[in-house]
């Protein structure tokens, strides 16, 4: 089944719970099947599935009142970044995942959709229902925070960076 593995990995990261991730992916695929007539042939099918997944998830979070009232609070915190260190030479899978968990969720999502799932800025904006400018600014701040997390965790650029 195309995209199911990738979609599950994304859901598992977001939900942090296997049972919740399985429910989310199953509901996403069932929803996609029901609304397949709305899919535009030739467009990115994975981006379309990601949009359905995020839409279902945000509806549930809103229903459970877990959605933060001020969505841009993370953005304001991120604006105070003082210094962006160089990207380390060697980043292990574990280094990356720990660092990613250390930044606000809005920024995690954008980095995952852009760098891991390789969606375009426009596809991300559509999936998350946010302006394309917000995608770009969150991506920029998210990467800067990720670099800080890696540096503060002791993942250094090189021998001179470690000194």
């Amino acid at each position: 089944m195309p995209h199911a593995d990738r979609l599950f990995r994304l859901a598992m990261w977001l939900e942090r719970d296997r049972s919740a991730a399985e429910d989310l992916v199953q509901d996403t695929m069932m929803q996609a099947l029901k609304s397949f007539h709305r899919y535009t042939p030739g467009t990115n099918c994975k981006a379309w599935l990601v949009a359905i997944l995020h839409n279902l998830r945000s509806n549930r979070r809103r229903a459970n009142r877990r959605m933060p009232l001020v969505e841009d609070a993370d953005d304001r915190i991120a604006e105070t970044l003082p210094f962006v260190p160089a990207v380390p030479v060697d980043i292990t899978d574990e280094d990356f995942l720990i660092a990613l968990r250390g930044i606000p969720e809005h920024h995690q999502n954008i980095i995952l959709l852009c760098d891991v799932e390789e969606l375009t800025y426009k596809e991300i904006a559509t999936a998350l229902k946010i302006p394309i400018g917000t995608v770009m600014s969150r991506l920029h701040r998210g990467r800067a925070m990720l670099r800080q997390q890696l540096a503060s965790a002791g993942v250094f650029e090189s021998s001179e960076g470690a000194g």
Binding site: R9, P88, V89, D93, F96, I111, L112, V116
Partner: protein, 87 residues
């Protein structure tokens, strides 16, 4: 078309994400050939992107259970058959 370090740094993220027009991409590539500092910054951004892809593709904790995928496939097939209009 000449492009300076400051512009390259501003466009570096969109460049590694392949979001720029061909002309701008060519101008950045030409700049990178003669500027080691910008080359290092772009290489760093590419490492970050590659690290993310590797971590997400390989992390065993994020992988779906094979039984989940097979059950899901079966459910979707049943649903697809049910949705097909009858002759």
């Amino acid at each position: 078309m000449s492009i300076e370090c400051r512009e390259v740094r501003q466009l570096a993220e969109a460049f590694v994400s392949e979001q720029l027009l061909v002309e701008t991409t060519h101008a950045i590539v030409a700049h990178l050939e003669r500027c080691p500092a910008c080359r290092a910054e772009v290489a760093g951004l590419r490492r970050l992107r590659a690290a993310g892809r590797s971590a997400f593709t390989n992390a065993p904790d994020l992988a779906p259970r094979p039984e989940f995928l097979s059950t899901l496939t079966a459910r979707l097939q049943t649903e697809a058959t049910r949705q097909q209009p009858r002759p």
